[in-house]
């Protein structure tokens, strides 16, 4: 089969690799019909995720058709159309039973490695480093799904791939980020980063009843999307001083909930921006957290800082004193996707949301390396790239004009 293989920072090659096989009784194999590049894949692309090895197949947002099931998978059959959640969860351990699926105790075969870095190991993930299990990812034509009786959700025939694909990660991730802020009527939510996770957080904040949603980014196309699709107020941090603007907008109190949907490769201006870049380059700091710092300090007293953005290691100058003295709640975690599949699928079926709004580009799997470049550098106002593993159309370039047109007018 064809697969997108990582060979080092900025070195991706789509090449032929062996097809996956059933390895355990609870495995299933899916023929992938749609797969996407996630913002967190960009951290892998840029070489910031530890535990990657040349030869790893990456990708964790995918869906497809079941073509083979192991002897213990009773709830799926060949031909079922499924979306697959990015964490691998056994369903039987303490955490799975508590619906904390991304903390599954059994799915990471390299748990001891993660324990060395983080103290304890979370669940294994698809295509996300050997620290998190080293499972082959889903930017490929086929994938093996362990514990297939727990993860994948069946999709009714009348929904398109693009409507349901993001149930695999970014939609639940944005949703959980807001859910754990316990939004009450009248609340103001500020979201740093208007990539796909940020946009879904913004949209989810609306769905969960936030009064005001403030979107923060520096790319006009993304801010336009936030305003267009979720009626968010927007702040371009290259043009305004964000903390001051938030003060003014909230009567000096600050947003009730602050969501960092940026993660480890944040950009910032001024002293702290350079500080993080230098420290990260010298490997004195694994992540660049300017958005997180700002989310903490601008949050109202007693408010919630929610962090769906991915951080990997050790961060500097986190204003913990601000958290303690102002009684902030900090929430984070890889998304417990399995918990959200059914309820969010219902929202899609009801028409409350059409997640395909984030898609800007559709490419063949062969064009994955180009897709990563475009997404990373925001070329052509790229927000979300969907890859088609079986397409033989040279390049399914998107309805770019139509997409932008819809936003602009």
């Amino acid at each position: 089969m064809k697969a997108n293989v990582w060979y080092g920072a900025q070195q991706l090659r789509v090449e032929n690799v062996p097809d996956p096989k059933i390895l355990n009784p609870r495995d299933a194999i899916v023929r992938i019909t749609s797969t996407a590049i996630c913002g967190s894949d960009l951290h892998i692309y840029d070489g910031y995720i530890p535990g990657m090895l040349p030869g790893d197949i990456i990708g964790h947002e995918f869906m497809g058709e079941v073509v083979e099931v192991g002897s213990e998978v009773k709830n799926l059959k060949v031909g079922d159309r499924v979306v697959n959640p990015f964490p691998i969860s056994c369903g039987g351990c303490f955490f799975c039973q508590e619906s904390l699926y991304s903390l599954c105790e059994n799915s990471n075969p390299n748990a001891w490695l993660a324990e060395k870095l983080w103290g304890h190991s979370p669940a294994g993930l698809f295509g996300y480093s050997h620290l998190l299990g080293g499972y082959a990812g889903g930017q490929a034509q086929y994938a093996r799904i362990p514990f297939a009786d727990v993860g994948p959700v069946k999709i009714p025939g009348d929904l398109t791939d693009e409507q349901v694909l993001f149930l695999s990660d970014v939609f639940p991730t944005g949703y959980m980020a807001v859910e754990q802020c316990n939004i009450r009527p009248g609340d103001t939510v500020a979201v740093w980063g208007c990539g796909p996770v940020g946009l879904f957080a913004i949209k989810s904040a609306r769905l969960l009843g936030a009064e005001r949603v403030i979107a923060i980014d520096r790319f006009p196309a993304r801010l336009r999307k936030a305003s267009q699709w979720a009626d968010a107020e927007t702040l371009n941090y290259e043009q305004v001083d964000v903390p001051e603007a938030l003060q003014v907008m909230t009567g000096g109190r600050g947003p009730d909930a602050c969501i960092d949907a940026v993660g480890m490769e944040g950009h910032a201006h001024g002293v702290f921006g350079s500080y993080d870049r230098i420290k990260q380059a010298l490997m004195l700091e694994s992540d660049r957290p300017p958005a997180l710092r700002q989310a903490i300090t601008t949050c109202r007293n007693g408010g919630t800082v929610s962090v769906p953005g991915v951080y990997g290691g050790f961060l500097d100058k986190i204003p913990f004193g601000s958290i303690v003295n102002r009684a902030l709640t900090v929430k984070s975690g890889q998304t417990h996707v399995q918990r959200y599949l059914k309820p969010l699928l219902e929202l899609i079926e009801k028409g409350s949301i059409d997640p395909s709004f984030v898609i800007t580009h559709r490419l063949r799997l062969e064009d994955a390396p180009r897709g990563y470049r475009m997404f990373r550098d925001k070329q052509d106002s790229c927000i979300k790239v969907v890859l088609k593993p079986w397409s033989d159309v040279p390049t399914v370039e998107p309805d770019q004009a139509q997409e932008n047109g819809r936003i602009l007018h």
């Binding site: 697969a3 097809d19 090895l53 030869g55 691998i88 082959a136």
Partner: protein, 340 residues
């Protein structure tokens, strides 16, 4: 997840422990909180520390003043002296800071051998014979001390007389894992000893001989096999299984697994204690080979697999999945079972 109470690479020593054969199956939990290291006798300790500081002193001198040290020892090349200095510094720091000093002392022995060879050549060539001869004698003296310390620490002196384990170097290790199944279920699975190879990676088979005795076959390194007979020393359904190997065994060990009800109805804490000797001559050596240099990790991973089998019915794996081309390093990590 698995927790580690002893918190160290090799377990801890238990000076003055009772004779292994007389050991009860129940572990000495009174000692649980104690932490120790493979502490050699005090005299040896000061010898090692002395050698460590000597290493650092010589290393610093050779790095800082390679020509002077070279002149004293009859060597000409400052580059070689700097390299020798770096080696000495590394060995010194290793000896003084690492818990397991033996490899660092052995590295000194190897270095001494190299130096002796080099100095012998210089001496034989008749080149600055006086200084080379003096240096040769000095290095030979230090080498003797290094060898003494290394041998003493490695313990080849000890443990030969007792068939089984030597009292001075016995090791206890204890690990536990939380399993979301009842103590009875965990006990039943473990007590069917034929199940053990499903989660103990080095085991090939376990065959019940009679009610108490069982025959174990394990895979050793390089396609070797290791066999022994064990007997059950304690058997309390739903609570505990104790075992020890029989006298003629090639992998002398004793241990127990206890199944404790976890608080709040959260299943079972499965607690394994293992008692064996890392240096126990021919008998214990078999087990050491099986457990590798880091027995804690082996027990930890076996317990993790026990949990996986109990809770999911299988052991999650990536062995056999597709990948792109692996580098040499990638293939090495495959051997370690990380990348597949």
């Amino acid at each position: 997840m698995a927790t580690d109470i002893t918190q160290q690479g090799l377990g801890r020593s238990r000076p003055g422990s009772a004779d292994f054969a007389a050991m009860e199956a129940g572990p000495p939990f009174a000692r649980r909180g104690r932490r120790g290291r493979l502490a050699p006798p005090a005299a040896a300790d000061s010898l090692e520390r002395g050698l460590g500081w000597f290493s650092i002193g010589l290393g610093a001198a050779a790095v800082a003043a390679p020509r002077l040290v070279g002149w004293l020892s009859g060597s000409r090349s400052p580059t070689v002296m700097r390299l020798v200095g770096a080696r000495e510094l590394a060995a010194g720091v290793g000896i003084l800071t690492q818990r397991d000093r033996a490899p660092w002392l052995w590295s000194r022995v190897v270095g001494d051998t190299f130096d002796l060879a080099a100095l012998s050549v210089a001496f034989a060539r008749g080149d600055r014979r006086g200084r080379a001869g003096f240096a040769l004698a000095a290095v030979a003296g230090v080498a003797a001390l290094d060898l003494l310390a290394a041998v003493r620490l490695t313990g080849t002196r000890t443990g030969r007389s007792v068939p089984g384990l030597s009292a001075r170097t016995d090791i206890y290790l204890e690990r536990s894992v939380a399993v979301s199944k009842s103590p009875q279920e965990c006990y039943r699975f473990w007590r069917s000893l034929e199940n053990l190879p499903r989660f103990m990676e080095s085991l090939e088979s376990v065959r019940q001989l009679d009610e108490r005795r069982s025959h174990w076959v394990a895979k050793g390194p390089m396609a070797t096999r290791l066999e022994w007979t064990s007997e059950i020393t304690a058997d309390r359904p739903g609570e505990e299984i104790g075992w020890r190997t029989l006298e003629d065994s090639g992998a002398a060990n004793a241990g127990s697994v206890r199944f404790e009800t976890a608080p709040g109805g959260r299943g079972t804490i499965v607690r394994v204690t293992l008692h064996y000797s890392p240096l126990g001559g021919a008998l214990g050596a078999g087990l050491v080979r099986l457990l590798g240099h880091d027995p804690q990790s082996r027990v930890r991973e076996d317990l993790r697999r026990f949990k996986q089998v109990m809770e999911t019915g299988e052991v999650p794996t990536t062995r056999g999945q597709p990948s792109g081309r692996r580098s040499v390093f990638g293939r090495v990590t495959q051997q370690w079972g990380i990348a597949q």
